[in-house]
């Protein structure tokens, strides 16, 4: 953790239009050059936090005391400013490469174009840069993969291409929303390793949004645990097993473990007071 945070969010609340309850209530955190995990179940508002930071939810009612990204006040930033930020200085990796890559264009061209949107350079230079980046995400034959269409690459390869695309402009903040849930276990680790190495090497601030406690335990420094739109607990990832909040403990216990006892899994008992509690 460094002293000057990349991202500083205080008291972020957000309500979708037509929804009775806010999806996010009073979430506060700061992010330095570190890997922050946001964990929670579906409906806990974890993805909404990611999207709110990127200001991808124009219809929603959003309020916060403070939301700053490297000196830019995100609350007041216009859409034009956001367009310059998104993809250049902050970028997002989504769950399924099948839906985030344009199916009728070559993968490499999409990577190169993403670069040219933010950096003025010749097509040739963008091409070279894209190939180099594909190599950096450990794609063995980047020139060949450059010319492939999205349906011709596997899920793991597709996600690596997405990572290449998102890291090409050297962003300071990457939000990865369930980056590996659509991938097989054997590929998952490789992809996470690649992302992890690049993030460390380049000093990028990473927000990893996931439902998977194992994933954040292994690939994050700090973890926020969200329940019903609130952060119920903030922990160092290595202290995850020493969590004190009953929700976190419940989630950990409900996870079946290899070699674990075959007794019935402890079922999470939800306590209505969790939604009332002041944020940790």
């Amino acid at each position: 953790m460094t002293s000057d945070p990349i991202l500083d969010v205080q008291g972020l609340s957000l309500r979708y239009p037509g929804a009775a309850e806010p999806a996010v209530r009073g979430v506060s955190f700061t992010l330095g050059r570190e890997r922050l995990g946001i964990v929670g179940e579906s409906g806990s508002g974890k993805s909404t936090v990611g999207r709110a930071i990127m200001k991808l939810l124009p219809d929603a009612e959003m309020s916060a005391e403070r939301m700053r990204f490297e000196g830019v006040d995100l609350l007041r930033a216009s859409e034009a400013q956001m367009l310059k930020l998104r993809g250049a200085r902050m970028s997002m990796i989504l769950q399924d490469p099948k839906y985030s890559l344009n199916p009728i264009r070559r993968c490499g061209d999409q990577v190169a174009e993403a670069y040219r949107t933010h950096v003025r350079c010749s097509k040739r230079a963008a091409h070279d840069k894209a190939v180099a980046m594909l190599a950096a995400v450990q794609i063995r034959d980047p020139e060949r993969v450059y010319g492939l269409y999205p349906h011709e690459v596997s899920g793991g390869m597709g996600q690596r291409i997405m990572i290449a695309m998102m890291l090409l402009t050297d962003p300071d903040l990457v939000i990865a929303d369930e980056p590996t849930s659509a991938l097989d276990v054997t590929v998952r680790l490789q992809v996470l390793k690649i992302l992890d190495d690049l993030v460390k090497e380049r000093g990028i601030g990473l927000i990893m949004i996931s439902h998977d406690l194992n994933l954040v335990r292994n690939f994050c420094d700090r973890v926020l645990i969200m329940y019903a739109g609130r952060v119920v607990e903030t922990l160092d990832a290595r202290d995850l097993d020493r969590a004190t909040h009953p929700y976190t403990r419940g989630l950990l216990a409900a996870q079946p473990r290899i070699g674990g006892p075959r007794a019935p899994l402890p079922v999470l008992q939800r306590d209505p007071s969790w939604t009332m509690e002041a944020p940790a």
């Binding site: 097989d184 406690l213 409900a254 473990r257």
Partner: protein, 248 residues
């Protein structure tokens, strides 16, 4: 309780062979796991065995009877299936009552009300949920309804196609506990497809590792930890799962 035997099951779509030749046996009352990467043909095995796909060769036998010899009604009372996506496996315009009473009507079983109430109690749902529609239920509740629907015909064999992979961890725990309890109470033979080795380890005595449509190795659950897997892909899968869980 009856055993399930899959003999030389193979299927191809045009030039693509999905399953070259798959054979395995499941003991009476056993829960057998199928693991492998996506596209390895795990789900296809279940769809063939239940005759949802009809164009395969080889045989699947429950006890001594082949699923091909059974007529539709007998097959339905022998084999049932629970699907992965609880949002897609319930008809959006059918109430829980309609969903559960359809099989009773088709098979001309009496005491509908009694059976419906029992089915709801079996899966731990309040009986008055019968008048709800799928969009009024949570993911876990929907999956309970799907399990109730599969079990209402009292099948010998239950095929589970990733029954918990679309659910949250805490809900997954509830559904897994439910399946364990129902298996003890009703004693059906069970085949479970999953990509999660921890779930397989929790539920199954033995499991088969599949790759590109082939079963590369059949292992007892102990093999996950004692390292007795021989096939390189099985070793890789187990190693990756252990590393991922952070237990290694």
């Amino acid at each position: 309780m009856k055993p399930l035997r899959i003999e030389k099951m193979s299927i191809r779509f045009g030039a693509v062979t999905i399953l070259p030749e798959v054979s395995f046996e499941v003991a009476p009352g056993e829960c057998f796991g199928l693991v492998g990467e996506s596209g390895s043909g795990k789900s296809t095995v279940l769809r063939c065995a239940s005759m949802l796909l009809g164009t395969w060769s080889g045989d699947a036998k429950v006890g001594d009877r082949s699923v091909r010899e059974m007529d539709l009604m007998e097959r339905c009372r022998t084999l049932q299936m629970v699907f992965q996506d609880p949002y897609g496996s319930l008809h959006p315009r059918h109430s829980v009552r309609t969903t559960l009473s359809e099989p009773l009507k088709i098979h001309r079983l009496g005491d509908t009300e009694e059976r419906l109430a029992q089915a709801m109690r079996d899966v731990g749902l309040p009986v008055d949920f019968l008048d709800r529609y799928p969009h009024q239920l949570s993911g876990g509740q929907r999956q309970r309804v799907a399990i109730a629907r599969a079990l209402i015909l009292e099948p010998e064999v239950l095929l589970l196609d990733e029954p918990t992979s679309a659910l949250d961890v805490s809900v997954q725990a509830e559904i897994l506990n439910l399946l364990v309890r129902l298996r003890e109470e009703k004693g059906f033979t069970c085949v479970m497809v999953s990509h999660d080795l921890a779930v397989i380890d929790h539920m199954c005595e033995r499991f088969a590792v599949m790759k590109a449509g082939d079963i590369v190795e059949v292992l007892p659950r102990e093999a996950i930890l004692d390292g007795s897997a021989r096939h390189p892909y099985a070793q890789e899968l187990i190693a990756a799962s252990l590393a991922y869980e952070g237990a290694a």
